[in-house]
């Protein structure tokens, strides 16, 4: 048991996973606070609870691989390397935001990191991820396209069209379903005839597996294996990561459709304290080391908030910019 984590990754990498998860959580909880203060407006979908998926998956991908996601994507962007200050500034609607204040919470994008966007039409990112995979194949580039989406997206036409297409054209797409069991307030059994989502790929002969999305190491191992399969075969692969969001769908949602008991079960599986415990038990980190990581993350988020607060608003003239080349 003591060496279990070390069999997977070196200590520094394990600590990095913890730091990324903690930073993601801290960032999201501070977003909630800034939303309550009126500094962040519009829709705000927080990721708290699902950190093991973004962090484990990103660690299992190459830096050149494309990542696309839906509208609950702050963590995916930050874990990939987006500057938390510029992400927070984007949420504040400031000119220094990662998309100059044009996108907001749901539309983060940084092509220098191959982070190819947050998309707010459910299922919109499926065909775009296929197109990016096609461009990589066409240009002979060694990269795959990793497409994140929720359980709600699997009933859109684009899901089926894109799975069919990726397999038909033999394209390197890794589909990663973050199954948090609710599409806003509709539980997965109330929307999907086959609620075991990874089984849906049999119609397209795409290999798939289900992984515990509350376990960062399990996600890492599954994605690393799958990404290598995709890279080797040039064909798609599908992962369903079961997870849970600790907050409502958005800040406007008190999540009354979920029972307290259910919430408690999942809270007990919170990936942060559980991974911290594992790191301590296996002697990979001391309590003091973890606290120092946590303090560093809090400081990063403090700086992000200050940066966002102090940044200028976009100029009115910017509304006509960046529409056409």
């Amino acid at each position: 048991m003591q060496t279990r984590l070390r069999m997977v990754l070196p200590d520094q990498e394990l600590l990095k996973l913890y730091e990324q998860m903690f930073l993601s959580r801290e960032f999201e909880e501070r977003c909630a606070e800034q939303y309550a203060k009126g500094h962040i407006t519009g829709f705000l979908h927080l990721y708290s609870g699902q950190e093991a998926v973004a962090v484990g998956a990103t660690a299992g991908l190459h830096r050149d691989d494309y990542i696309l996601s839906a509208y609950r994507e702050h963590a995916q962007a930050i874990v990939r390397g987006a500057d938390p200050r510029r992400v927070m500034a984007e949420l504040f609607g400031k000119a220094t935001g990662i998309c100059k204040g044009k996108g907001g919470s749901m539309h983060l994008f940084d092509p220098s990191l191959n982070f190819m966007g947050g998309y707010a039409i459910v299922g919109g990112q499926f065909p775009i991820s296929v197109g990016l995979a096609f461009s990589a194949k066409y240009r002979g580039e060694d990269r795959i396209s990793a497409c994140f989406f929720g359980d709600g997206a699997v009933n859109q036409g684009t899901f089926h069209e894109s799975l069919n297409w990726a397999q038909l054209w033999q394209l390197p797409v890794l589909f990663i379903c973050e199954n948090n069991f609710y599409g806003i307030g509709t539980e997965v059994h109330r929307s999907s005839a086959l609620a075991s989502i990874h089984k849906r790929t049999c119609g397209y002969d795409i290999p798939s597996e289900k992984v515990d999305g509350m376990d960062v190491i399990a996600v890492y191992k599954a994605v690393k294996y799958a990404a290598e399969k995709v890279r080797e075969s040039g064909r798609p692969y599908f992962i369903e990561a079961t997870t849970y969001r600790f907050r409502g769908h958005s800040m406007a949602d008190p999540a009354k459709y979920r029972s307290v008991a259910e919430h408690e079960v999942w809270k007990a599986r919170d990936p942060l304290p559980n991974f911290a415990k594992q790191l301590l038990e296996e002697g990979i980190a001391t309590q003091a080391q973890l606290e120092s990581i946590e303090a560093r993350c809090r400081q990063t988020v403090d700086e992000a908030v200050t940066f966002a607060e102090e940044s200028p608003w976009p100029e009115d003239s910017s509304v006509y910019e960046d529409i056409y080349v």
Binding site: C99, G103, D110, P111, I121, G124, I128, V130, F134, Y138
Partner: protein, 328 residues
Amino acid sequence: MAEMTYRDALNLALKEEMRRDPSVFVLGEDVALYEGSFKVTRGLLAEFGEERVKDTPISENTIIGVSVGAAMGGLRPVAELMTVNFALLAMDQIVNHMGKIRSMFGGQTFLPMTIRMPGGGGSQLAAQHSQSLETYFMHCPGMHVLYPATPADAKGLLKSAIRDNNPVIFLEHELLYNSKGEVPDDPEFLVPIGRAEVKRPGDQVTIIAYARMTILALQAADELAGEGISCEVVDLRSLAPLDMETFLSSVRATGRVVVVEECWRTCGLGGEIASRIYDACFDVLQAPVKRVSGLDVPMPYSRKIEKICIPQVEDIKGAVRDVVSGRY
């Protein structure tokens, strides 16, 4: 110069641009082995191979989404939607994605892609295959909308569309594919986006038209000349951006305008053009802007009644006579 059909001019434009730039590829339903429902992609598979000429599933929304992703990844896709009617299945990717991505991502990417769509009515294809949906796309920022009337413009505009770094909706009229005209041989012949053309000079009435309506307007102008009425025919060519300068300067010279649109009249582009004319040069108008439009009905099949729903040469002539004689 060589005489060729609108179809062959488009085909040549595709071939020339694919020879010129290896990042250009073609995708769509039946475009490769079958060589296109209207044979615009004839010979492409043989010349460029399966890597660059791609048959797709019947998944219109995903055809456009894949094009968006490929464009973001550095390619220059030319997608064919078998007809404009099927674009309605792809409106999510066209409007919510293609038209928004550059702006909502703060200008960090661009989408050099073209979507070709045959459309228009007049072939007795009934309600679901006879639509003129140009204003649907004109309404959305983030994309250009082109609609050529002649073989030369078809070639020059398609080449410009493929080379342009913005998304372009490229409409083709199904009844023009067999029409013939002189087309420059020069592989660098380009028709600029956003530039209308005076296809026939005149001094009494300006007829503003596009695509097949331009051809009908030219015929009407010919016949009206015999009645002593001189019409200037402005072919818009580019519906977005609109070349206001060209049609406004014609209107300032003639003081009378007829706008011919194949689309439905309600919210049709004739209304937009009329409004811009009223804003810019109300003072020079000697008659209200007259619109000749498609009827606001689902297209019927029977050729006898289909004809009533689409502007005809006689309708254009009648409208011109009205604005000239003061019967409006």
